[in-house]
Amino acid sequence: MANEQIKLMIEDLDFYYGDFQVLEGVSLKILVNKVTALIGPSGCGKSTFLRTLNRMNDLIEGTKVDGKVLLDGQDIYDKGVDVVGLRKKIGMVFQEPNPFPKSIYENVAYGPRAHGIKDKDELDHIVEDSLKKAALWDEINDRLDQSAMGISGGQQQRLCIARALAVNPDILLMDEPTSALDPIATAKIEDLIENLKEDYTIVIVTHSMQQAARISDYTSFFLMGEMIEYGLTDKLFEKPEYKKTEDYITGRFG
């Protein structure tokens, strides 16, 4: 683990909704080109934690962050950090597929367009490339101009992944991306994640321990706003160091 390259280094992170403390002293390393899964019971703060990594929580009024989140050594909570630029580097996929009510093409081209790419050929290329990376191209390349609202939920979620990839991020944050999908669509997304880690660093929140075990390299267990245990996925599931982790894991499986 020591010789792995660190992408995100979270140091002693606290997070508050008003007076209510949601995260307490979370420290964690996210390694380059690995899949890191965040698991824990509902309300443990794993999704909130994920949203601190691209500062999406900034959008909620009355929240406060203490501690550091270092992206390639630079604290993303420093004054003067360009939050908009930060979110370009750290993409996000949400729990519910949230395609925009535009055509499939326009969904993927939305980000690149926003960042100033106007050339039609270049946009075409980005759209095709992103849809291929998201394993969606073969299914829908003949109806790119149709509304994204008309494709299946699983396809919509992969479209959202393609949309995130189109702005060329380093990191992909995924907040329970398969919780609204059926098993087949879930399997497709899981396969996709396996492939994507070659190019991207992935952090995924999941309510399913089986999913974490299947797709992640590292797993981090959250409980009541604290990060209890972090380590290689295989080790965490087979020989957890802490009693709390073991209780959670065995409670679910047993």
């Binding site: 999406m56 930060l86 979110r87 370009k88 580097k89 949400f94 949230n98 925009f100 980000g111 702005v167």
Partner: protein
């Protein structure tokens, strides 16, 4: 009066039922039936009132409607000729109202719904908007007289009147636009912000377009209300009689509601011009209904096309 009588009737009936010692279920059933009947009646009253008004105006006004009436200026002390300048005056002043009220209303709504933090000041602004909506139109007229006509020196003109009507419809436009923005799912905002685009870009490309139908619908309804107002234009630019159309923003103008007011109360032979007054009312109400129909069509079109 009628309603309370009906209520009493019900109460008596219900008491009777209970006294007779019917099963509880039966009495509830009856109560429910009566309740629904009242609800149904209340909604039918609306339809009946509209039908009566339309019937009255159409039967009394349709006789004077012809091409001359719609395209000529009034002649011989408004006893002959048409209402062309009043029609166009109302159309022009409503356009100015739209130009004033729609952009300001939409921008204010964007600020309130997308940018403003929830706090005392935002609450105060919202309270002000709600109260402005309740200010009587004659007060807007006086305010327009003081601010635009005298204060800014715009004189009694179509511009002053349009600005005054614009102010008056602003609360409606803001509220309608805010509701329309609220109806845009938050996931559109989050989805685009997560792609690293600026907030303004996200609003412009991924929120506002989906709010436009609602904004237009609400905006048009506000405008159709303004088109029929007399009080705000009374002191600010409406003319008793002008044979020609307004030639510039500083011209005075004739307007349908004011013309109607004159024909029915200020004219030297009110009885004689009564049919013309009804004809004017018919044109005005048609204009307003057309605008409302436009609003309905816009809403229906977007509702079908997006889903």
């Amino acid at each position: 009066m009628e309603k309370s009588e009906v209520n009493q009737d019900i109460n008596q009936q219900v008491e009777k039922e209970v006294n007779v010692g019917q099963v509880k279920m039966g009495s509830n059933d009856l109560k429910q039936k009566i309740g629904f009947a009242i609800l149904r009646l209340s909604s039918w009253i609306m339809l009946i009132i509209l039908a009566v008004i339309l019937y009255d105006i159409i039967t009394k006004g349709i006789g004077v409607i012809n091409l001359e009436f719609l395209t000529q200026s009034p002649r011989r002390g408004m006893t002959e000729g048409g209402i062309w300048p009043a029609i166009m005056g109302t159309v022009f002043v409503t356009m100015i109202t739209a130009i004033v009220s729609l952009p300001v209303g939409v921008f204010a709504a964007i600020y309130l719904n997308e940018y403003a933090r929830k706090g005392k000041i935002t609450r105060l602004i919202r309270m002000a908007i709600r109260n402005l909506a309740g200010v009587p139109s004659i007060v807007y007229g006086l305010f327009g007289l003081a601010l635009f006509v005298s204060g800014l020196g715009l004189g009694r003109s179509i511009l002053s009147a349009g600005l005054t009507l614009g102010l008056m419809t602003l609360p409606v436009t803001i509220t309608a636009s805010e509701e329309a923005l609220k109806a845009v799912p938050n996931s559109y905002r989050q989805g685009s912000l997560a792609l690293g685009v600026s907030k303004w870009y996200s609003i412009r490309t991924n929120v506002l377009p989906y709010a436009i139908p609602g904004i237009l619908t609400g905006g048009i309804l506000g405008l159709s209300r303004a088109a029929g107002e007399t009080a705000p234009i009374l002191f600010t630019g409406a003319a008793f009689s002008l044979p020609r159309l307004p030639s510039s923003l500083s011209s005075q103008f004739m307007a349908l509601p004011y013309h109607l007011y004159i024909l029915s109360t200020q004219h030297h032979s009110i009885e004689k011009v009564r049919p013309i007054a009804y004809g004017t009312a018919l044109v005005l109400i048609t204009l307003v209904l057309i605008m409302n129909l436009g609003a309905i069509l816009i809403r229906a079109k977007f509702r079908n096309s997006d889903r």
